[in-house]
Amino acid sequence: MNNDRTDKADVLQGTLILLVLRTLEALGPLHGYGIARRIEQISKDVLQLNQGTLYPALLRMEQEGWISSKWGASAKNRRAKFYSITAAGRRRLAKETEDWRRMSSTIERFLDFDPRSLTEERG
C-alpha cells in the first residue's frame, strides 16, 4: 500500500484541514478531485496527498459545519459533489492560520537557536 518511500512529504492529518479550507476560500466551490489537484499544484507537487484520505476529512469538516456540499455539474457536464466554505469555516481558517503561524515561528526559533546563548543562565 503506502510502503513506497519518496522524497515527497506526506500531508499530515491536521494540516489537511487547513489546506482544504484555504483552497476553498481562495478558489471558491470545488469538487473533491479539484481540491486534491489544486493542493498538489499549489505546493508544486512537493506535498504528496494520499488522495483517499481527503474524503473522510471532507466528511468531518462538513459535519463540523465548516464547509457545505452540493451536487452540481462539472466542467465536462458530469455530476459531481461541490464543496464550498461556510462562515464557520472562515472563522476556523483564521484560527488555524494563526495557530499554524505561531507554531511554525516557534519551530523556526528552535531551529535557529544557538546553544551558547544559554550557558550563562545555566551558571
Binding site: 500500500m1 503506502n2 469538487h31 473533491g32 478531485y33 486534491a36 489537484r37 494520499n50 488522495q51 483517499g52 484520505t53 474524503y55 473522510p56 466528511l59 468531518r60 462538513e62 459535519q63 463540523e64 459545519g65 462539472s74 458530469r78 455530476r79 459531481a80 459533489k81
Partner: protein, 877 residues
C-alpha cells in the same frame, strides 16, 4: 457546540445509510475518472493511467471504512454490519452453528434451571421481616445425640427472662387435628402457635387478625386458617371470617386468614390454634422455639449467652437432666440444613463444570473453523480491515451464537424448572418457590455472555497470533493448524478431561453411597405392605371403645382376600426424636437417665405384619389385655443401652424419674432395630407397649401385609372394609410402605441421578472434544503422514503416534482431574454414606473408564490415518 453538530450529523447518517453510501461511491468514481483522464492527457496508456490513479488514491476499502466510521456512530454502524455478516457466515455453515447452539443451549438451560433451585432455596431471603435476625432455639443433649429437641414453655420463659440478646421468643408445633364436616370426619394438618409468633415473624393475616395474649391465655376456641385451606373450603370468600369449624369435636371460630405460602420452619398447617406463651410449672408439653435477635447482636454472642443460661438452669434440674444445652441456629440454616446446602452448591458447581466443558468444546470447534477461515481473514486484512475490526467481527459471531443459545437455553430452563417442581424431592425445602426470576435470567445472560466471549475471543487471539499476513501465505496453502490454535485446543481438551473426571468421581462416590444406603437393612420388610392412617372418631372417648374398634378393624381386614397380616402402630416414622427420662431396674440397682427415646403402642400382630424379627422373648398376646400387668417389647438399641451384656427379658423399667407415679413395665421381648427415620439415621432406644393396654386418642398407622405385588390395588377393598366397621372412622394417606420409606431417599436419589446425568454428559463431551481434535489434527497433517509413510513408516507406527497424542492429552487431564476429585471428595464428604472420599475402587474404575473412552475416541481417526495413501496425500496440495 461542535460535538453537538457532529452528533446531529451522525444521527442523520444513521438513517441515510444507503443514500450516503451510494453518494460516496459516485464521488470516488468521479474522482478516479478525472484522474485517469488527466493521466491520459499527460501521455500515459490506459492501463498505466488507471494504475497510477488507483495508486495516488491509496487504499480504497480502508478509506471507505474510515469514511463510514465517521459518517455515523462507528459502534452502531459497525456492529450492525458485523451482525449482518455474522448471521451470513453462521448460516453458511449450518453444521457448526447447529452443533454449537444445541450444545450451548443445553448447557445454559441446565445451568439456569439448577441456578433457579439455588436461588429459591439458598439465595432468596425467607419471607419474613428481617429474616436474618430469626433463630431456632433447641434443647440439646449431646450425650444422647439429641440436637434438635423441643422445649417446655417453662424453659422458654426462663430463657426469655435470663437473656438479653433476644427481642422475643415464640413457640409452635403440630397438633393432631380432626375436622368434622358434612361427610364425616377427616384428619387435617393442624398446629398451634403462641400469640406472639406472627408479630415476631412480621407476618400479618391477609384477612382478619391474629390471636391476642388473653385469647391464648384462656385457650379460646379460635383459629387461623391457611390461604390454601381458605381457597379450597371457602372459595376465598370473605364469609370465612367468623365461620365455625368443628375441630376435634369442638366448634372453633375462624378469626383470620394467613398469607399464601405461610409456613414456619417447614411446618405448613391448614389450621392454627393458640396456646399461651408462658407457663408457671414445668409441664411435659414441648414446643419448637423461634426467637428474634436484637438488631446488633451476632449469633456467636447469642450462643455464648444461651450456653451460660443453660449452665445456670442445669443446676435447678434433676440430676438425670443436667447434660442439657441450648443451641441457637439461624432460621435460614435450619430451613435448609448444611447438608442440603452443600449438596445444592455441589450440584451448582457440577452443572457449571458441564457448562465450562460445553463452552470449551464449542470454542474448540470455532477454533478449528477459524483455521479453515484463515484465508478469509487474510483477504479481509488485505482489503484494509484492521486487526481490531477482525477481532470484533469474531467476537460478534461468538456473542451472536451465545445469545441464540442463551435464548433457547432459557426456554429449556423454564421447562426444567417445571420438571423440578413436579418431580423434585418433596422434602427439599422451598421447592414450591422455584421459578425463573430476574436474578435467574441475569445468571442465564451472564453465562451466555461468558460463553460468547470465550468462543469469540479464542479464535480472535489465534488469528492475531497468526499475524494476518496479507500475502495470504498461510491462507493460501493448507496449514498444520496454526501453533497458537493447536495449543489452545489441546489445553481445552485437557481441561475437558480434568473436569469430566472430577464429576465422574463425584458421581461414582454418590453411586457407591446409594448402593450402600439401599443395602442397609431397615429392620422391616417394606415390600407388599400397604399403609393407611386410621382415626378413632372423637366420640370414642373411653379407651375400651377404641380398643374394641381397633380389634374389629384388624379382624375385618384380616378377612379380606390377599391380606396376610395386619398391624397397628401409633407412628412408624419418627419426624423429630424426643427425649425422655427412663428408670431401669438392673441387677446392680436402679438407674434413671434421660434418653433419646420413642415409645409407641402396637397391636399384637404389628411386628409380623411389618416383618421385624423377634430377637428374644415373645410378641404381645391376647393375655396382655387392659387388666393384665403392663408389658413392653423393646428394641435392640434399648437392650444394649439399658441392660448391656444382660438379657433384658423379665426386667422392669418405667418412664419418668425414680419417684414418678408411672407404672413399671416388664420387658417380654426384644425386636430388631427399625430405621424409623430413614436408612441413613442410626436407630436409638425405643419401646413398644400393647395397644390393648393403652389405646391412644389419636390417629394410628395401619399396616397391611398383602400377597399382591401391587398393594395399592387393594386400597379400595380395604377402605370399604374399615367403613363397614365404623363409618365415622376416617381413613386417609393410603400408600405403599415402600413408597413412604422411599421419600427418605428422595433427595439423595435426586442429587445422585442429576450428578450421574451431568457427568455422563461431561464424559461424552470430553470424548467428542478429543475426537474432534485428533480428527482435525490428522486432516491437517495428511501431508506429513503421507511423507512419513513414503519414507517407510509402518501403518502401526502411525496408529501409535496418533493414539499417543490423544492419550498424552487425556492422561494429563486425568492427573489434574484426580487431584481435583480428591479435593472435592474432602469438601463433600458429608454427602457420602458408607464410603470414604478417597474410595480406591471408585477412583480406579473411573480412571479406567476415562482411558477407555479416550482410546475409543482416538481409535477411529487413528485407523483412518493408517489408511492414508502417501501418493494421494502428497498430491493433495
Amino acid at each position: 457546540m461542535s460535538w453537538a453538530t457532529v452528533f446531529a450529523a451522525r444521527l442523520r447518517g444513521l438513517f441515510e445509510h444507503k443514500r450516503l453510501e451510494r453518494e460516496l461511491d459516485e464521488e470516488v468514481r468521479f474522482h478516479l475518472e478525472m484522474q485517469i483522464e488527466d493521466n491520459l492527457k499527460a501521455g500515459m496508456n490506459s492501463a498505466e493511467a488507471r494504475y497510477a490513479a488507483m495508486r495516488s488514491f491509496g487504499g480504497l476499502e480502508r478509506m471507505k471504512e474510515t469514511y463510514r466510521e465517521r459518517r455515523t456512530f462507528a459502534l452502531v454502524e459497525t456492529t450492525a454490519q458485523d451482525l449482518r455478516y455474522a448471521v451470513r457466515t453462521l448460516r453458511k455453515s449450518p453444521g457448526f452453528t447447529m452443533t454449537a447452539v444445541a450444545v450451548l443451549a443445553l448447557a445454559i438451560g441446565a445451568n439456569t434451571a439448577i441456578f433457579s433451585v439455588l436461588n429459591a432455596v439458598l439465595l432468596r431471603p425467607l419471607p419474613y421481616r428481617s429474616p436474618e435476625q430469626l433463630a431456632m432455639l433447641w434443647t440439646e443433649d449431646l450425650t444422647q445425640k439429641l440436637r434438635e429437641g423441643r422445649s417446655a414453655l417453662w424453659d422458654v420463659e426462663q430463657w426469655r427472662s435470663q437473656s438479653q440478646s433476644f427481642a422475643d421468643m415464640a413457640t409452635f408445633d403440630t397438633v393432631s387435628t380432626m375436622l368434622t364436616g358434612v361427610d364425616g370426619v377427616e384428619q387435617i394438618v393442624g398446629a398451634s402457635m403462641s400469640p406472639n409468633l406472627l408479630p415476631l415473624l412480621g407476618v400479618r393475616p391477609v384477612l382478619g387478625r391474629g390471636f391476642s395474649t388473653e385469647e391464648a391465655e384462656q385457650r379460646q376456641r379460635l383459629v387461623l386458617i391457611s390461604h390454601r385451606f381458605w381457597q379450597a373450603r371457602f372459595g376465598g370468600s370473605h364469609d370465612a371470617l367468623g365461620a365455625t369449624l368443628v375441630l376435634n369435636g369442638f366448634p372453633c371460630q375462624i378469626i383470620g386468614i394467613l398469607p399464601a405460602d405461610f409456613q414456619i420452619a417447614r411446618l405448613d398447617a391448614d389450621v392454627w390454634e393458640p396456646h399461651p406463651s408462658r407457663r408457671t410449672v414445668r409441664g411435659a408439653e414441648t414446643w419448637f422455639v423461634v426467637g428474634r435477635l436484637r438488631p446488633t447482636v451476632t449469633f456467636d454472642q447469642v450462643q455464648a449467652e444461651m450456653s451460660a443460661v443453660a449452665r445456670r438452669l442445669n443446676d435447678q434440674l434433676p440430676a438425670a437432666e443436667r447434660n442439657r444445652g441450648i443451641s441457637v441456629v439461624p432460621l435460614t440454616l435450619y430451613m435448609v440444613g448444611p447438608q442440603s446446602r452443600l449438596a445444592l452448591w455441589m450440584l451448582g458447581g457440577t452443572v457449571f463444570c458441564v457448562f465450562l466443558i460445553a463452552a470449551a468444546n464449542v470454542t474448540s470447534l470455532s477454533l478449528a473453523r477459524s483455521v479453515a477461515r484463515a484465508r478469509e481473514m487474510a483477504v479481509r486484512a488485505a482489503l484494509g480491515a484492521s486487526a481490531g475490526r477482525i477481532v470484533r467481527q469474531l467476537l460478534t459471531e461468538g456473542v451472536l451464537l451465545a445469545a441464540v443459545s442463551g435464548l433457547i437455553g432459557s426456554l429449556l430452563a423454564s421447562v426444567g424448572v417445571r420438571l423440578i417442581r413436579a418431580f423434585g424431592p418433596g422434602n427439599l425445602p422451598r421447592l414450591n418457590e422455584i421459578n425463573l426470576d430476574l436474578r435467574v435470567l441475569g445468571w442465564a445472560l451472564a453465562i451466555s455472555v461468558l460463553a460468547g466471549t470465550l468462543l469469540g475471543l479464542a479464535p480472535a487471539i489465534a488469528t492475531l497470533r497468526r499475524d494476518l499476513r496479507p500475502s495470504g501465505e498461510e491462507g493460501g496453502r493448507s496449514v498444520s493448524g496454526g501453533a497458537a490454535t493447536r495449543r489452545i485446543r489441546r489445553g481445552l481438551v485437557v481441561a475437558d478431561f480434568a473436569l469430566a473426571i472430577v464429576l465422574l468421581v463425584g458421581a461414582g462416590l454418590l453411586v457407591r453411597s446409594w448402593w450402600y444406603v439401599n443395602s442397609i437393612d431397615p429392620g422391616f420388610r417394606p415390600e407388599r405392605v400397604l399403609v393407611m392412617e386410621l382415626s378413632a372418631p372423637p366420640t370414642f372417648s373411653i379407651p375400651a371403645q377404641r380398643t374394641d374398634l381397633y380389634d374389629r378393624v384388624l379382624e375385618t381386614i384380616q378377612a379380606v382376600p390377599d391380606v396376610k397380616n395386619a398391624g397397628i402402630i401409633g407412628d412408624l416414622f419418627i419426624a423429630n426424636s424426643r427425649e425422655q427420662v427412663v428408670t431401669v431396674e438392673r441387677d446392680d440397682g436402679t438407674v434413671s437417665e434421660r434418653l433419646r427415646f420413642a415409645g409407641d403402642e402396637v397391636s399384637a400382630d404389628f411386628f409380623k405384619a411389618i416383618g421385624t424379627p423377634l430377637l428374644r422373648g415373645r410378641f404381645f398376646s391376647i393375655g396382655d389385655g387392659p387388666d393384665a400387668p403392663p408389658v413392653a417389647i423393646i428394641n435392640d438399641a434399648m437392650a444394649r443401652r439399658s441392660w448391656p451384656g444382660h438379657d433384658p427379658v423379665g426386667k422392669r423399667f418405667k418412664l419418668g424419674p425414680r419417684n414418678s407415679d408411672n407404672r413399671w413395665c416388664t420387658v417380654v421381648g426384644v425386636v430388631a432395630d427399625m430405621r424409623r427415620q430413614g436408612p441413613e439415621r442410626e436407630p436409638f432406644p425405643q419401646m413398644f407397649v400393647s395397644l390393648a393396654q393403652s389405646p391412644p386418642p389419636r390417629s394410628m398407622d395401619l399396616f397391611i401385609r398383602t400377597s399382591s405385588d401391587d398393594p395399592m390395588a387393594m386400597a379400595g377393598a380395604l377402605r370399604a372394609a374399615v367403613r363397614r366397621v365404623e363409618k365415622n372412622a376416617p381413613i386417609y394417606g393410603v400408600a405403599p410402605l415402600e413408597q413412604q420409606f422411599g421419600t427418605y431417599l428422595a433427595q439423595r436419589r435426586f442429587q445422585t441421578s442429576l450428578l450421574i446425568g451431568f457427568s455422563i454428559v461431561a464424559l461424552l463431551m470430553a470424548a467428542v472434544g478429543i475426537y474432534g481434535l485428533i480428527q482435525y489434527s490428522i486432516v491437517t497433517r495428511t501431508q506429513e503422514i503421507g511423507i512419513r509413510m513414503a519414507v517407510g513408516a509402518e501403518a502401526g507406527e502411525i496408529f501409535r503416534m496418533i493414539l499417543g497424542e490423544g492419550l498424552k492429552l487425556s492422561l494429563t487431564g486425568l492427573m489434574l482431574g484426580l487431584v481435583g476429585a480428591l479435593w472435592l471428595g474432602q469438601a463433600g464428604s458429608s454427602l457420602l454414606f458408607g464410603v470414604t472420599p478417597t474410595d480406591p475402587l471408585t477412583f480406579i474404575v473411573v480412571s479406567l473408564l476415562l482411558i477407555a473412552v479416550a482410546v475409543a475416541a482416538c481409535c477411529f481417526p487413528a485407523r483412518r490415518a493408517m489408511e492414508i495413501e502417501p501418493i494421494v496425500a502428497l498430491r493433495q496440495e
